[in-house]
């Protein structure tokens, strides 16, 4: 959290959101700078996914401010937030089960203004990143395995040519080998293309190793933040991480 080389791309200030009467976010501050990987870690139900969805206005922020690239997007309709090329591979993957893999990827491409030729280039890159999808292009999304669905969800988000990629628990329910493949892909995209990533994880160990900076969320509040590897050394993180580990077992 020292001086920042790049300006913040996403700025969240004093954000509050709730489901009915249950407060899910209780005044959250968070920054993602261009070119950064930021990890948001915390236990189940801490409000991590809610924070990601609130950026898209689902649920709407009760209070506070969300800005993207200097523009206030707090009250922008969901689809217009997406058209700023903020892409999300959301909780539960949410691929379209009755569309083919190719169509799922096309749904991401549709969100951009890019030409058909650009789409073809993007598609090749995504398939290069996740070769498993290439073999499955004509298969329906619903027939894929969990890992393949996760790759498809990320691939679909990448087809949006994201300026900010949000990943909600990309490792959930996946075999360690596949998790590593996915994390490697994210690292490559960040180093090679400067892709900005906000990643939500319960798997704090891997997420903090991947990220430049991290935030820890407890009960709808940010309790700690700092550089990824530095956070990993802190005893309270180790405790939270172990606790998280037990829940996942």
């Amino acid at each position: 959290m020292t001086d920042a080389p790049a300006p913040p791309l996403l700025t969240i200030r004093a954000l509050r959101a709730s489901y009915g009467k249950i407060a899910a976010l209780k005044g959250v501050d968070l920054d993602v700078r261009a070119g950064e990987i930021v990890a948001l870690i915390g236990a189940n139900g801490a409000g991590k996914s809610t924070l990601m969805m609130t950026v898209f206005g689902r649920p709407r922020a009760r209070d506070g401010r969300i800005a993207f690239d200097g523009r206030d997007i707090t009250h922008l309709p969901t689809h217009l937030v997406a058209r700023l090329r903020i892409a999300q591979a959301p909780e539960g993957r949410r691929i379209f089960p009755r569309m083919t893999v190719a169509e799922n990827l096309k749904m991401g491409a549709d969100a951009t203004e890019a030409s058909a030729a650009d789409h073809a280039v993007d598609l090749e890159r995504v398939l290069g990143l996740f070769p498993r999808l290439k073999e499955r292009l004509t298969q329906r999304g619903g027939t894929l395995s969990g890992g393949e669905q996760q790759m498809l969800a990320i691939g679909r988000a990448l087809m949006m040519r994201p300026r900010l990629l949000m990943l909600d628990e990309p490792s959930l329910g996946l075999a360690p080998l596949i998790t590593r493949q996915i994390f490697d892909a994210i690292r490559t995209l960040n180093r090679r293309d400067g892709l900005t990533v906000l990643i939500v994880e319960q798997n704090a160990n891997q997420a903090l190793r991947l990220a430049h900076r991290g935030y820890v969320m407890v009960n709808g509040e940010i309790t700690l933040s700092g550089e990824g590897r530095e956070l990993l050394q802190r005893p309270e993180i180790r405790a939270a991480y172990l606790e998280g580990g037990r829940q996942r077992a």
């Binding site: 898209f56 689809h79 997406a82 949410r94 096309k106 749904m107 679909r156």
Partner: protein, 304 residues
């Protein structure tokens, strides 16, 4: 055999009309999960607009049949689509996040509004029109019974096939079709991918209404009459067709429409025409007992 062949032809023509209406029910159900009870009345509006367009065209001296048909088709589709759009905009969209039954009740209300509007503005009497497509072919003749295929039946079937081809292309190959399917499967995710869900839902109503208006035009040409109440029975039949085919399934709607048309025609031909509606609904019940999701419906459980 001749009699059978004749009924088959008649049934397919009638079934095409039901099928085109049924698509509107099934599309709307698929995307917003409601039964649009006003859809039958949209079909009726389509019939009236076709009638009015015919009269206007004839009065200004346009009489070449293909030109007239094409113009009426375009006017009816465009105007009825506007009705469909308006109904969704004022009666359903404000209730989208209300409790589940609210839009359904609103739809029943809209059904009354549309039929009463027609009754008041066009009068309660049955309106008739002189036959526009006449003639036909005698396919074969045995024992004094001629099996006839009329030009109007050919027109109905060819138009239906053309519309279905265009419609499948739209749903399967275009961006709008992809957006519609995305909204049908997961509206939140569609929005996260930049799809304007409200606009996509509007377009669904517009397309459904346009198809129903063609059915209205066909009905007018086939039977030569329209009245303000015709949307009710035809709507119920087409809804039955959609359920029979598997609500939410587009090929199912067309298949269900054909099935209902054929059942009704054959029952009337071989048993009694008074009970033809009872036959159609009885078969629906029997099918639903053995195939609760309809002929082409998909099972509820889906691996996601």
């Amino acid at each position: 055999m001749d009699y059978f062949a004749q009924q088959l032809i008649n049934g397919i023509a009638l079934g095409s009309i039901y099928g085109l209406i049924a698509i509107g029910y099934t599309m709307v159900y698929g995307i917003v999960g409601m039964i649009n009870f006003a859809h039958g009345d949209i079909f009726m509006i389509g019939g009236f607009i076709a009638l009015i367009s015919f009269l206007v065209l004839v009065s200004i001296g346009v009489t070449a049949v293909p030109v007239v048909l094409l113009l009426v088709l375009i006017v009816a589709m465009a105007t009825t689509a506007l009705y469909g759009w308006t109904v969704e905009r004022i009666a359903y969209r404000p209730l989208r996040h209300s409790f589940r039954l609210a839009p359904m009740l609103s739809a029943i209300g809209m059904s009354f509004v549309l039929s009463n509007f027609s009754q008041v503005s066009q009068g309660a009497r049955i309106k008739s029109i002189a036959p526009i497509i006449t003639g036909g072919y005698t396919l074969f003749e045995t024992g004094g019974f001629a099996v006839r295929l009329s030009n109007i039946q050919i027109f109905i079937v060819l138009t239906t096939v053309a519309l279905l081809l265009a419609f499948s292309w739209l749903v399967g190959r275009t961006r709008l079709g992809r957006d519609m399917r995305a909204c049908e499967q997961d509206q939140t995710m569609a929005a996260l991918l930049g799809v304007d869900v409200d606009r996509t839902i509007s377009m669904t109503f517009v397309i459904g209404a346009a198809l129903a208006s063609v059915a209205g035009l066909m009905y007018l040409l086939y039977y030569g009459v329209v009245d303000f109440f015709m949307g009710f029975v035809a709507g119920i039949k087409a809804f039955t067709a959609a359920v029979l085919g598997g609500i939410g399934s587009l090929p199912g709607a067309m298949l269900g429409g054909l099935a209902i048309g054929l059942i009704e025609t054959f029952w009337a031909a071989y048993f009694s025409s008074e009970y033809k509606d009872v036959a159609a609904f009885s078969i629906l019940i029997v099918v639903l007992i053995f195939l609760p999701t309809g002929l082409l419906g998909r099972p509820e459980v889906e691996k996601v």
